[in-house]
Symmetry: C2
Subunit: 401 residues, 2 copies
């Protein structure tokens, strides 16, 4: 029994490591976890109860691959309110935004096809893409988003099917793509006839500054597929995201989802729909923003206080993560494995797995939404102290074989 | 923007047709729908409420790709009770059994790889497989399951990655594979080093006769992957199935599911787990069996009374479907489209889409669980009358272009 060739890359995605690095005694900056105390448990309980007792005899039946229409209408209305002309018919519900990534890769990629990813990028996106055996072209991140000149050079010289980008509070860097770069990216996509996959699960979680238009809202040729999710604004346990695409693309994606899992949970879609009818989702998001802004500020303050001078980090305007860079050659993966986890019970996501091809080792993704304020201060202090020690005794961190 | 090559086959799976053929005024024998009046709505409502109010702060958080352990333990215990030695660690939860089919194809198939399917087979399995561009080898169904001699001839002469089979109350024919053939299939799989994907969502729904061992329970080399589901015994809207596989296979499948949708819904897994703690699932299944036996008997009685002599059909021991065969050349798809649907508002699944390669047109899958007893009698009478008319005026059914 020989497995498919794709398993040479899918066997170790790093996703499981990520979950493993979050045991009970660990201060984890590794996960991309919401603050559990913000889940609207009672409101969701009531909403599900109302769905169950609504007398809708179809609630527990097979329904449709595209998803429950009233929920799609509510999502479309929210997107329109933020400047993105969207109809319910443009939307398909997915198993979290993650399934959207998988389905778009399935739609577009034959083995060897060109795929542009940001460097670094979202670990789970690489796990999804690897199953379709693309040829990756990494384009570096800058402080205002992807390096547009480098992107243009790739598009000029290589055959590319699509560009994968997280323009708002990027995973893992927290960076926001500037408006100029959003416009430039659309222009390049039109010029070189490539698709853009805009993955935007953090968009509503802005703590500072003003929102920029989505790339999809700048798209006049139907070449952007947009992904959104309830995971970060309600609960990841619902496994409910959505995808917005032009009719010709959506038709294919619906067929692919049918083959993949038939449809998303009708019960859960009703539950979320009832939640949105009975509650003010924007007020809930405001609560989340306030809490996460506080945590982010605490993280930045602790970093400023405790990090060695050699460490660089940013102060993101939203999302879940900030990005730490150490001097070139400093291996944040080896440091965590050999010292930080065993000696301090602290974890983050080392950068090596976050690059499609270059495996740069001197960065780390730090999550500030999951840990408590106390854990942030304690954990960042311990991290800073350990980094200082390692910097001044370089032999402490052995190179990984 | 050019789509991946797979979309040449995935664009029209027939799955959407299947849903479309079930409008409000249609007597549908097409769907694979449970009887909605059997859904344990109140009990599930209570179970979800208990999950929400359990004080488990992790309920709405990201959890694990493999799935909620207490639920996997309950499933393992049920499988052991039916003679299948299974540990919770052998199980991964999936988005219905459909996702299991997709993930196994993803694990095994490179484009062009050999795949044995029964002829006819489950429409949704072909939709899943098509995304991986296999080379199909059809093996005919006989009254006691797949034609083992024909299977052996394929395995002797072709390179095959795995065999896809629905051994109990097959979709679409309702046929049960005999014990002798189950043993022969395992023997051949061992001899030719191929994998078996045993898809068994209907196993608990036996109305007559005694259960046979699953193929997985005869497997001594860890080469059978077994799929089960709550869709037919609780509710398809929960989108919850499971997969049993040997550790080496399971490890890869967990990584592939991670890339595909991260994990299944923790909330739904808790809800089902609480349902199983608070209710007697076997008693519920007994109720379902009694109702479906009554419907199946009504369907067989109506077929016996109303079908033309030229029609052949079976009396399955369980499941959702019986299989109707008309004389060679009679096009059940054209007949439905041109006459039965527009003139009688009756639908079924014509056989053409249920063959991977041969597109045989003279069969139909008839579902007896979804329609009411009245609809069964009225619908089958109208179907019989219309078939008699068409048989005696052969020009009525025009060949499809």
């Amino acid at each position: 029994m020989k497995f498919a060739k794709r398993t040479q890359k899918t066997g170790k995605s790093g996703l499981e490591d990520l979950f493993a690095a979050s045991g009970p005694n660990v201060i984890s900056f590794a996960g991309g976890y919401p603050d559990r105390s913000l889940f609207p448990t009672q409101q969701l309980n009531r909403a599900f109860k109302h769905s169950f007792t609504s007398g809708d005899t179809e609630l527990l039946q097979y329904a449709s691959t595209q998803g429950y229409l009233p929920l799609r209408e509510k999502i479309a209305a929210r997107l329109r309110a933020t400047g993105m002309p969207t109809r319910a018919t443009d939307i398909m519900m997915t198993q979290g935004a993650q399934q959207g990534i998988d389905l778009v890769a399935r739609l577009m990629l034959d083995p060897g096809d060109g795929l542009v990813v940001e460097a670094p990028t979202y670990l789970g996106a690489l796990a999804a893409f690897n199953a379709y055996q693309p040829t990756y072209y990494e384009v570096p991140m800058q402080d205002d988003g992807i390096d547009i000149n480098a992107l243009q050079r790739v598009l000029m010289s290589r055959s590319v099917k699509f560009i994968y980008t997280v323009p708002d509070f990027q995973n893992p860097t927290g960076i926001v793509m500037s408006l100029a770069k959003r416009k430039a990216m659309i222009r390049l996509a039109n010029q070189y006839d490539v698709m853009i996959l805009e993955d935007n699960p953090y968009r509503d979680l802005r703590y500072d500054g003003k929102p920029l238009p989505t790339i999809k809202s700048l798209d006049t040729e139907g070449r952007v597929i947009y992904l959104g999710s309830f995971s970060k604004i309600l609960s990841p346990s619902l496994r409910m995201g959505w995808l917005v695409a032009a009719p010709k693309l959506l038709k294919e994606l619906i067929a692919l989802k049918g083959g993949s899992d038939l449809e998303s949970s009708n019960l859960t879609m009703h539950g979320i729909n009832d939640y949105m009818e009975e509650n003010d989702l924007d007020a809930h998001i405001k609560q989340i923003q306030d809490r996460y802004r506080e945590k982010k500020d605490a993280m930045v303050a602790a970093m400023t206080r405790y990090m060695p001078a050699e460490a660089h980090f940013n102060n993101p305007d939203g999302g879940f993560f900030l990005w730490l860079t150490m001097p070139a050659g400093f291996d944040m993966g080896a440091f965590m494995k050999q010292h930080l986890l065993p000696e301090n019970n602290i974890s983050y996501v080392p950068s090596a797995n976050l690059y499609a091809t270059s495996a740069q080792v001197n960065g780390a993704r730090l999550n500030f939404t999951g840990p408590t304020l106390d854990q942030i201060d304690t954990g960042i202090k311990a991290l800073g102290d350990a980094l200082k020690l390692a910097l001044h005794q370089p032999t402490l961190v052995a190179e990984q074989a």
